[in-house]
Subunit: 191 residues, 2 copies
């Protein structure tokens, strides 16, 4: 008998794979039975675990996008930001990454479930920022990282503009330049 955790993780992976494959095949409206069929699981397992198709799409998109851009521990804010931003940039230049971002935005439409799933990514960034502050480096807020780096990369994809090579690194340098110009604590910045 397999451990429940191991089986549970495999089901999650298989279902996420099925979602990505169906989205990539243009079947953006695929219903849960079709997803279950492709994943080789019982539809009941999906309803029980995710509750709704929107919840499943949101979980798949956030999990997969998060996996494409882990935050490294390089010992400097700059190194951490560059490593992370390069992952985001690569995902945004990749067709599957673009599809997942669109799915994410579509499921965040009004009326959808709350954005709890998104918190994981915010928590990742907060840990990176806390580590930098702990080393005495001028540290941004999560909102500043989103504004300077993530928003411009995501908007290129959502508006079908090209993501130019090196865009992630350039946006990180912009953020670091702004921090050097005004290294005040968050509450004092941007007013």
């Amino acid at each position: 008998m397999t451990r429940p955790g191991g089986r549970s993780a495999r089901v999650r992976d298989a279902v996420h794979d099925a979602v990505v494959e169906l989205l990539a095949a243009g079947e953006i409206d695929a219903a849960i039975p079709k997803i279950a069929d492709r994943a080789g699981v019982n539809p009941t397992s999906i309803y029980r675990r995710w509750g709704s198709r929107d919840n499943l799409l949101l979980d798949a998109a956030v999990t997969r996008l998060r996996a494409t851009s882990p935050i490294p521990d390089t010992g400097s804010l700059r190194g951490d930001l560059l490593g992370w931003a390069e992952g985001v940039e690569a995902a945004m230049r990749d067709r599957h990454g673009q599809i997942l971002l669109r799915a994410l935005v579509a499921t965040l439409a009004p009326g959808a479930e709350p954005v709890e799933y998104l918190r994981a990514r915010g928590d990742d960034l907060q840990r990176m920022i806390d580590a930098a502050a702990g080393r005495g480096e001028p540290a941004p807020t999560v909102d500043e990282v989103l504004d300077f780096v993530l928003a411009p990369l995501y908007l290129r994809v959502l508006f079908r503009r090209p993501v130019e090579p090196g865009a992630g690194a350039r946006l990180v340098e912009r953020l670091l330049t702004a921090l050097r110009a005004d290294p005040a604590p968050p509450a004092g910045r941007g007013g």
Copy 2:
């Protein structure tokens, strides 16, 4: 008899109104006959003018969003940017503006028509920038305006984060600070 231009503009307005009302009522999948019915026009007029539902949605979203944030001619880049960004911020705090942005992003999915309609907004910004350069002010590129100001505001809405009062002005100040710190010509910036 009315001038064709006047009638044509009225039809366009009525059809755009119908689109916005249907989207606001949650009918995001409303087909052309339903939109025509609500606008009091013949479906044929819509097919002839816009060709497809996606084209119509794109035109309605860009036209209306553009109308919410005209670019003023204040005589300074800062004044122009602030006036424009306040309009964008107001639209992004407004339910109809949020709905239009979501419709815009949804119609820009792969497979949709090209982004010709978007060019109008880029042209507006380019004229503002050219005027600033003509006065000898350090001027950003259109991409910098999008990265610093528009992307963060749009992403708040698309990710269902609140648009805080004054966000537009703060983002404009960030851009102006970055320009002061590095007033090189566009080709020399951001490398």
